[in-house]
């Protein structure tokens, strides 16, 4: 009888531990598509350097990224960056496949600045542009966005 009771308690304990793991995994699965963060990026491309703040919002299968900053070039005057990109995305593990749906600047107009086009990927400038990100959580409040194997944004809440 005692053995039976002990076995029952052991099974209940194991069940609770398994339930805890399942709960955390479910929460993490949900959290991977529902989070927002902000990062500072200096992007170097040829003679151009963009200093921007990127704010990402992921909400299920849609999201948005807001770019604020400026692009400096050796051969042209500095340009302000104020882009709002709304996108759809699909997630497979840590891989996120994004497609831009609506891209506007702060005035609500489409972007048509050559310097930005020479600096940023099309995803940040035009609708229906695809973009790939690998996103891994570093801590409870920070994520690392990777493009082409190299970290492209340290993003934190």
């Amino acid at each position: 009888m005692r053995l039976k009771n002990n076995t029952s308690w052991l099974l209940i304990g194991l069940l609770l531990v398994a339930l805890s793991i399942a709960t955390v995994k479910t929460w993490l699965y949900w959290k991977n598509t529902h989070f927002s963060c902000t990062g500072e990026l200096t992007l170097h491309r040829k003679d151009n350097v963009a200093n921007v703040t990127m704010q990402y919002v992921f909400n299920g299968d849609t999201g948005a990224v807001l770019l604020r900053g400026e692009v400096i070039s050796d051969n042209a005057p500095a340009e302000q960056v104020s882009q709002n990109i709304f996108f759809d995305f699909q997630r497979k593990g840590n891989d996120y496949f994004l497609v831009s749906k609506s891209v506007t600047d702060s005035t609500g107009n489409p972007t048509d600045i050559p310097l930005l086009k020479r600096t940023f990927p099309l995803f940040y400038l035009e609708p229906d542009a695809k973009f790939f990100l690998n996103i891994k959580q570093l801590t409870g409040s920070s994520w690392l966005f990777t493009t082409s194997r190299s970290p492209s944004l340290f993003c934190s809440r």
């Binding site: 308690w9 209940i12 304990g13 609770l16 531990v17 339930l19 805890s20 793991i21 709960t23 955390v24 995994k25 993490l28 990062g39 500072e40 990026l41 200096t42 992007l43 170097h44 491309r45 040829k46 891994k136 959580q137 570093l138 801590t139 409040s141 920070s142 690392l144 493009t147 082409s148 194997r149 190299s150 970290p151 492209s152 944004l153 340290f154 934190s156």
Partner: protein
């Protein structure tokens, strides 16, 4: 003539209900044996007088046998009489063995109360006799010579009380301990599951060089640090605020990354970092 008739009536009554003899003679009475023990026939019990000996409960047949022996002290009571008075009148049939076992129980009881067990004498194949040398005193109707101590006060009954008192405490202790253990295990499992989902790559970066107050680290999964060194040489990072720079580059990839943090990266606290990302046209070259 009248006396004989009455005697016949009594005998007829006794033969009709022989069990009544031992019962009638003993109801509400205490029978003192040698002044050291009291036999309570209606309660089938022997209690000690002036000693700490706990009361002894007799089986009902043994008690009836003793009552019969007392009523016929000094006489040999036939086995058949025992059978009839103690068992048959109560609808039971027993063997000689059972009878002698009950007599043996009485001897043992006598011994326990300091009475000589030889007071009970077996006459082989005839019956049993209670010796006259045993001093017997009967209390009168309603007269109580000795008050029985409550049975619960005996040490025999004490252990169950202790168990009843201590069991819930031990159960409670076990329950709290097990719950605490399960709670800790759940927390540990949840924490490990969460930790397993996080990336700890910066902790594995290798130190490359310290220059102009910048501490450079390189990704652990490459052995060619040419691009890293070129970056350190050509990009004069301002390390006033972000002193710890984690460099990532691979051969055949036209991308270079430098994550610069205020403090060494730690998974256990907030990290304040900025990212430098370089896009080159030639994957095998590194140019500013």
């Amino acid at each position: 003539m009248g006396f004989r008739f009455a005697d016949r009536i009594i005998r007829a009554y006794k033969s009709f209900n022989p069990h009544s003899e031992c019962v009638r003679n003993s109801v509400n009475k205490q029978i003192i044996l040698n002044g050291v023990a009291a036999f309570l026939p209606e309660k089938h019990r022997i209690i000690a007088i002036n000693s700490g000996q706990p009361p002894l409960s007799l089986s009902i047949p043994a008690s009836r046998c003793l009552a019969l022996l007392i009523n016929h002290q000094g006489e040999v009571v036939l086995r058949e009489k025992f059978f009839h008075e103690v068992w048959v009148s109560n609808g039971a049939q027993v063997t000689n063995n059972t009878f002698y076992q009950n007599i043996s129980l009485l001897r043992r009881a006598f011994k326990e109360f300091g009475l000589n067990e030889d007071y009970i004498v077996t006459v082989p194949k005839v019956g049993v006799k209670l010796e006259n040398t045993l001093k017997i005193t009967r209390s009168e109707e309603g007269e109580i010579i000795i008050t029985e101590r409550p049975l619960l006060a005996t040490p025999v009954k004490t252990p169950p009380r202790k168990v009843v008192r201590s069991l819930p405490a031990s159960l409670t202790k076990g329950w709290v301990g097990a719950s605490a253990l399960v709670f800790v295990l759940c927390l540990g499992a949840a924490f490990l599951t969460w930790r397993a989902s996080t990336d700890n790559r910066f902790a594995e970066f290798k130190p490359l060089i310290t220059q102009s107050s910048c501490h450079y680290f390189v990704n652990y999964d490459t052995s060619d640090y040419k691009k890293h060194r070129l970056f350190v040489r050509d990009f004069n990072l301002n390390c006033d605020s972000f002193k710890y720079v984690y460099l990532t580059a691979y051969n055949n990839f036209a991308r270079f990354s430098a994550v610069a943090c205020e403090r060494p990266f730690s998974a256990w606290r907030e990290n304040n970092c900025v990212t430098h990302y370089v896009i080159t046209e030639d994957s095998n070259a590194f140019e500013k």
